[in-house]
Amino acid sequence: MSDALLVEPSAASPTRRVLGGLLRSREIAVGAVLVLVIVLTTIKSPSFLFSSDGWRDLLLTPALLLILAAGQTVVIITRNVDLSVGSTLGLTAYFTGRLFSDHPHLPIIAVVVLGLLFGAVLGLVNGVLVALFKVPALVITLGTLYIYRGIFLTWAGSDRINAGDMPQDFLALGTKAIVTIPVLTIVGLVVLVAVGYYLHTARGGRELYAIGSDPDAAVLYGLPVTRRIVGAFVLCGALAGLAGVVYAARYGTVSSGAGLGMELQAVGAAVIGGVAIFGGSGTVWGAAIGAFLLVTINRALPVVGISDFWQRAVVGALIIAAIVLDRVLSARQQRRLVAAREETRTLQMRGGA
């Protein structure tokens, strides 16, 4: 049955197609693991889910990573990677705080937009370097990771942004909730829906998948490869910038360590969520669930009483398992598709003779 769905999806009824696609999707599998983690932890310690703090933390903690993972997904789909998002986040968070303290009369929305634009510029630098010098994004963004962090350290010095530097209304965003759902989580979800919608329904979004699926074919096809890749990096940078603003609102203080190591979490979240590291497939929904899972596991393991070392090991094992699973599944799918082709071909020949 699953073979038929793979080779001839149109033969199935639309409901079965959608249902079959859902059941086989990586998103559902990762989602199930997430639910399992939450349920098990809650059994051990009911306050993990049922206290008002527990509920809020469950939703609020992943908000940052959610935004970063959405941007990272867009870049990974094109067979690139952006390792500078953690530094971009930190630098933008500091930039946000400085805007508030140096220009107290700026409206909050203007600061948010400026933060977004600031991140976009940093992303543009990445994109232009990658597209212009034809150097692997891994190397370029590893360089800008250090450069952006260095700019941050030089600019901030021993200075740090404190809650007192930022307006109360802005900081309130970090704690406010609408129908028990934290505002920052809503921001993350809105970003997610927007990016997911673009990737699925816009020509540009589909071209990103095509470029990652086979970069050489994309050039032969006449796709605007350079422009799309630069665009992906700009979007990723802008979202990292937004994450920086969210960081400032959430924590109220920005020190030079802000966003340290976040880039690897963002890549990890995307990979766990089924975004192929070689590009061409995966969704932001998967990356989002991956982000939730990553953050939630980190919070759940101490509750269950597992030591610090094992927490990291579990996350590492999860990433490796996700990649191995990807390889196995895609190899199996390819073999099945080829086998199905051989079969029809033999039938054709026999039918002809």
Partner: protein, 511 residues
Amino acid sequence: MPGTAPEGGAALELRDVAKSFGSVAALRSGSLSVGPGSIHALVGENGAGKSTLVKIVAGVRRRDSGVLRLHGEDVDFGSTAESKAAGVAVIYQEPTLFPDLSVTENIFLGRQPLGRGRRIDRAAMYAEAERLFAGLGVHIDPRRPAQGLSIADQQIIEIAKAISLDASVLIMDEPTAALSGVEVERLFAVARGLRDEGRALVFISHRFDEVFELCDTVTVMRDGEYVSTDAIAETSVPQIVSRMVGREVAELFPKTPAEIGDVVLEVEGLSSLGTFHDVSFSVRAGEIVGLAGLVGAGRSEIARAVFGVDRYDAGAVRLAGTPVPARSPRSAIRAGMAFVPEDRRKQGLVTDASVARNVAAVIRRGLSHAGLLTNRDENRAAGPWAGRLEVKTSALDMHATTMSGGNQQKVVLAKWLATEPRLLIIDEPTRGIDVGTKAEVHRLLSDLAGQGMAILMISSELPEVLGMADRVLVVCEGRITAELPRDEATPEAVMHAATATVHHTAEGISA
């Protein structure tokens, strides 16, 4: 006779187009004139410059000089997007689809039907794809991923793409190379339909029966140059063949007879799903066995499997009677195999390293003292081999990347010969090498066979195979369809076997 197609009314016109890659001239003087409502055949040996000409029209490469006109207007395509916008569609020998995307997306990418708010209208897109496939008379599920499709189906998708683009010029680069009889008939019906709509088609093929069945005009190319253009009705196969070859086979490829010894390589029932099936053959000491066939027939894949680079599902490989384990090039080398791959820059050489280091690379284990390897050791080991092969580099520490294709090939050979192999597998020994050096490489292979080495040679150049091989194995669609001793290996016999399954099924259908 040039200019059969009306000069002014040509849909596509090329005059004296030239293109070089470094010192190798891929196209010296390409000319072609195709009228609307015509199917124009472009024939020539491998390396005659057809593919380069196609790439120039497609906008993949820029010509160095010459005239390129589309519907009478001078054009200069800097990218494939530009040529596409001008109404040129190209179907490459090996179609370039995006494996992760659905069949339908592959057709409409970049110009999907849009619904409200400039969102892609998927329902309309699938319906349009269904309509296209129905028009082409094929059954392909528009929702399935492109991954795993047969070459035939991939080509149909490329054609569907061209039709939906409403291209006025359609170039097909060996579209039938991997098709079965039914699929060829289907393709021809589609091509005639497009011709009757007034489009200009260029059809590149090695199969003369197809050329004569489908096309109305034929242009012959040889060694990157235009030779002739004739109406199909006024020419014949022998005439075209003599123009294509244009030289005596024996002169260029001097294989001296060698004493044939014991069986060195035995391959039995080798199969790999979707690539090749039940391949069995043997190579004896002192013998050169040529592996001939059309591009994409699976020759290189067989060689790679024998050497242990690629996996295979069934079968066995034996070297001098001892089984060689699958998937282990290391044990293949230890057993006495050497493999010179097709793309020597990518797979055969460390281009940034010195000649000596390249030559010594495979045997460095035997050279090292207590795990350390010095330049002196490398130079000492490499010297005699490079000297024997007359590698023209002033010093052994010159970098391989700065050498000509011929010398690079010799370095790769020297590298393998240093392992003193009993079997040499060589894939396209003279691709990208100028004519003078070609003869040297051939003389070398002949010498090696004379010293008792068994050689398995893959080549797409028919004269090379016929001139060099003691025995020719013809591969077609992953199966060995003929085994011809030297005196029976004529171009016709090889070509017939290389397209064998096609004829079989075609006959089967008509019967």
